[in-house]
């Protein structure tokens, strides 16, 4: 097995182009488990921890551009105010040791339906920036995932960054599990309110083959919320929103919970996050 250690982004893309089967590794929180368990023996590892560009974040027009190598810990500390939903999700990732290493880029690269970063990225209309020697493209995160652990990432491409607007309104994230930490979510849900555009963003995790949005729920809620009056949220609105979120999921029965339970729990999380977010907006 080769160990490729580019120190610049150009070198990294060149290495990936030359050896598309090389597996990118940053925090190692997914890739190393696969290696330790002997589940895979890739011909090469492409270490991205020395590519300084990946660990930087800044602005790109109205958007924040966050390098794929920014860790969960830095997201919380440095971007928690601007990306509160993503920061909430990042706080629920693993242990401190895992948050010190794990990156959103890695989460996207693995494309697990249970990836904690995915629902908030969906809810805030993030773009995933993919790069190769052929060029750069930006894919809406909702179009990024194509199946369990599969994405539109081409063999010669790397995840360079994600781009997202700073929160223009309240954001929430919630997940259900058998304990508070060190647990794979039974299901998770992220919500973003965009009061300026009177729009709603959602993201569902662990309840479909891919992370996905609940678009009918978003449309319903955008129309139903009393944006002008900022009045009390009718219970019926929260209930209907929850039901539409549950309907958007395509869960399965597995060891962590039944499909029926997941739908139910999603409706609960949707209602809950909506009440929290609406309260925050009206405060």
């Amino acid at each position: 097995m080769e160990f490729l250690q580019p120190s610049t982004w150009d070198d990294a893309m060149a290495a990936k182009a030359a050896q598309p089967e090389a597996v990118p590794i940053a925090g190692g929180t997914d890739v190393m488990v696969e290696l330790n368990f002997d589940r895979r023996r890739p011909p090469a590892l492409l270490d991205l921890t020395r590519v300084a560009e990946l660990t930087q974040w800044g602005t790109d027009g109205p958007l924040l551009r966050v390098g794929a190598g920014v860790t969960s810990r830095r997201l919380i500390a440095e971007l928690g105010g601007r990306l509160p939903g993503l920061a909430m999700a990042s706080r629920t990732v693993g242990s401190p040791q895992i948050r010190n290493r794990g990156t959103v880029g890695g989460n996207l690269g693995s494309a697990s339906p249970a990836g904690d970063a995915h629902p908030p990225l969906l809810a805030s209309d993030a773009l995933v920036e993919l790069a190769s020697v052929r060029g750069v493209r930006r894919v809406p995160v909702a179009e990024f995932f194509t199946g369990p652990k599969r994405s539109v990432l081409a063999p010669d491409e790397l995840v360079a960054a994600f781009l997202v607007a700073p929160a223009g309104g309240p954001q929430q994230f919630a997940k259900v599990g058998t304990r508070n930490a060190m647990v794979i979510a039974v299901c998770s849900f992220a919500l973003a309110l965009h009061p300026a555009q009177r729009r709603v963003g959602t993201g569902i995790g662990s309840a479909a083959p891919t992370p996905r949005r609940a678009t009918a729920a978003e449309d319903f809620l955008a129309a139903a919320l009393p944006w002008d009056t900022r009045g009390r949220l009718p219970d019926s609105t929260a209930r209907e929103f929850g039901a539409l979120v549950a309907a958007a999921a395509a869960p399965i029965d597995d060891v962590r919970g039944t499909a029926a339970y997941r739908r139910h729990a999603l409706s609960v999380l949707a209602g809950r996050t909506l009440r929290w977010a609406w309260e925050a907006l009206c405060d």
């Binding site: 058998t178 060891v255 339970y261 729990a265």
Partner: protein, 698 residues
Amino acid sequence: MGTLTRAVGQAHARLDGPDKVRGAARYSVEYPVENVAYAWPVPSTVVKGRITRVDTRAALAEPGVLAVLSYENAPRLTPAGDPELFVLQEPAVAYRGQIVALAVAGSLEAAREAAGLVRLEYDTWPHDTVLTENHPGLYQPSHVNPSLPTDTEIGNFDAGYAAAPVRVDATYRTPAEHNNPMEPHASTVQWQGDRLVVHDANQGPGQVQAGLATLFGLPPERVRVITEHVGGGFGCKTMRCCVVLAALAARHVDRPVRLALTRQQMFGVVGYRTPTIQRIRLGADPTGRLTASCHDAISQSSMLKEFAEQTAVYGRPLYAAPHRRTTHRLARLDVPSPAWMRAPGQCPGSFAVESAMDELAVTCGVDPVELRIRNEPATDPEEGTPYSSRNLVACLREGAHRFGWADRDRTPAVRRAGRCLLGTGVAGSIYPARSLVSSASAYAGPDGAFLVQINAVDIGTGARTALWQIAADELGVPPDRVMIRVGDTGLPEASLAGGSTGTASWGWAVAKVCREIRVQIDDVHGGSVPAGGVHAQVDTTADIQAQQTFSRYAFGAQFAEVRVDVDTGEVRVDRLLGVFAAGRIVNALTARSQLIGGMTMGMSMALLEEGLWDPRSGDWANHDLATYHVAGCADIEQIEAYWLDEDDPHLNPAGVKGIGEIGIVGTAAAITNAVYHATGVRVRDLPVRLDRLLGHRA
């Protein structure tokens, strides 16, 4: 000597603490060994079958590979009782994951690579791996572990139950559970001529010595097993196949060999707690006084061996009832062999009995603490013998007082805090207090220092420190003048670390030899140690045979407070409180750790632990710590363990009952009883699952 503070009862920090916090304590594969080779096991990929071909060509072609062992070429062993130890001797496969080959190489990575290249072909047969309550293969074993009667009957249960005005009839299930000590099994084995020197992680170096001696046809004195530090055992580090594999490999390649299992491999080969199906029937008068009780327990074992978990023995000495019956039935399946785990029998048995007692309390409208007090027997209800001491009622009362039980409203599902329902629950707890034969030696030096030696083993319990304290008191000297050595078969023979017998058994031998040394110094040498020192060695065979007949048990009361999210069914434990009566507590610091550790494991059993079986592949679906959750500190808000001062003269010189396992007994029932109190939902099937609590079953 008059002003000397007794060491027993003090909260001494453990002797091995400084080495452990520095990372300097050496575990079994951490001793530097010249020219060491590494072994990596190859598990069977079929459930039931017979190996027809072993192709090692690709494996042997790897650089650095020394050998691949299988039944075709492994050195021959002599059976040693446990078929799980008779490894690489026969082509038959009894379960998926059984070790069928072993790669040996000059480096760990080469051994692992080679193991993956071994090609095995099998003839296979259909398999049967699922335990059910009406499995056609259920039978009555001749006895249950360790050597207890399979079935018992006092009075006439059927008649007593039929006549009872109040009845509870419920079936409880516990899943397979995996011990998961932090340290995976590990051995370093060296043949030095015709002597075998073994560093091994185990709960009984003497047991491993005897096992290896039989398997390899050696006199025991030519096998030395050193077990200085062990990273936990919880039952699964009684002798296992790993050390045998390492010894086979070392003999075959004529080099020292290391073998350390991975966490994933442990799930397949080191044993697990059998799943249980338990029916409890209780008959009582309207005030909750039991007139009849019956506990029918079903569990599984492998085709390789009969391991009969003693699930229904839990209630035999516990609550009074004139008519009582217990039964055990076992099914032999094409599954890995179950084995000892954290209070075997008592732990799953207590879940059923203590849940049923709660159901009876609800049915009768009696407070569940009071219900247990009402069913307090004067003598052991099955044996008729007196208790050496019995303080269950005192534990319940003390616990109720400390927990704040008095004003508890018994109505379920009415206490609400925000989106959560709150509830509290209680359970009793009992665990046998046994002493096993051990020996120990002591040496008094002319410089005033003492050396006490015993082949006890400290698997994390604090045994080394407790024995050192006992020795100091018996010698009548400050503990800093005493040195203790344990964990080496070169030391006087002692029983294994299991069944909470360690301190009782080893402490007996240690106390006896220290008394003997004092007698020699005082009576033979006139009160001073001669230049050549004084040596003594004793064993406790006669003392233990001379014990009077008593029912000897530790008792406890477990209290739990839970919070259940009404919408998601998430359960969180806000508080666990246990009060125990376990004889004399030798070391308050290590005892507390033992007890809260046991209680945390009980919580883990209630809410998290579940070995998921895939009947199609005949294998565990979860075999790592990401998918098999074990509770940690953060899973519990507040945990308290207390003990009563108990002076029981009928135990052993140290006056101890053992505290390794009582902490886990009853805990799961206290939690599910609290879940019932919070929600009105009775959980009879562990672990508590979010979807089950909300009724969203598939």
